[in-house]
């Protein structure tokens, strides 16, 4: 079974600075999806970014980018130009490919953006 590990329970960054959240995972599959989800205090889980394992190019969505290292089974999230609205819990998640596969989540990293 796959596992997802987030070793940073809490992080803090100043507004406009850059922060990197770490995630490692374990699987025997060669093709899969990796995700970063954001969960603000309101609890609504929102997809931030997705990476397909067969793609070598790192995914980017505006201020959010990932560093996907398949051999090392590492999947970090970089947030550039941090904003107060980025304050939230961030979860790394894994799913198999194929139709409608469940998500396996890490334990999350609480990010606080300060002035």
């Amino acid at each position: 079974a796959q596992t997802v590990t987030q070793s940073q329970p809490e992080m803090s960054v100043q507004e406009a600075e850059t922060v990197t959240l770490s995630c490692t995972y374990d699987t025997s599959e060669s093709n899969y999806y990796l995700f970063w989800y954001k969960q603000p205090p309101s609890r609504q889980m929102i997809l931030v970014i997705r990476q397909e394992a067969y793609k070598q190019q790192n995914a980017t969505e505006n201020r959010f980018s990932v560093n996907f290292q398949k051999a090392a089974k590492s999947f970090s999230l970089k947030i550039s130009d941090s904003q107060l609205g980025d304050t939230a819990m961030y979860f790394c998640a894994f799913s198999y490919t194929g139709t409608a596969s469940k998500l396996t989540f890490g334990t999350g990293t609480r990010l606080q953006v300060t002035l």
Partner: protein
């Protein structure tokens, strides 16, 4: 397009009582998921439906939890009887043709006293 709807948002019950949560997925989404999120942890899948059939319920405590998805649309998750350790946020999610993209509802926070 309307998002995933859940009710109630909050529920407080005493142990051994029963409780039910409701979820209405995004229109047209065939797959529906119920996740349990205990404080300080990531969500964990309880049950997954494809239309009105169960795909995965391996992590559902079947002695006390039950779920149904009648007509392949709305779903209800029930706990009977509740235990203190059932205190958690219960998240419903749905996915459509792009099965890897799940959309989450706002969740129901259950407190068992």
């Amino acid at each position: 397009e309307a998002g995933v709807a859940q009710s109630p948002r909050y529920k407080i019950i005493e142990k051994r009582q029963s409780v039910a949560f409701w979820c209405n997925p995004i229109s047209g989404h065939a797959t529906l998921y119920w996740y349990q999120q205990i404080l300080g942890q990531g969500p964990k899948l309880l049950i997954q439906f494809q239309n009105n059939g169960v795909v995965d319920d391996s992590q559902l405590p079947k002695d006390r939890f039950s779920a149904e998805r009648l007509k392949g649309v709305d779903s209800t998750l029930k706990i009977q009887p509740a235990k203190l350790e059932d205190s958690a946020v219960y998240l419903c999610a749905s996915s459509g043709r792009l099965g890897y993209e799940q959309y989450f509802g706002p969740g129901t926070r259950l407190t068992v006293t």
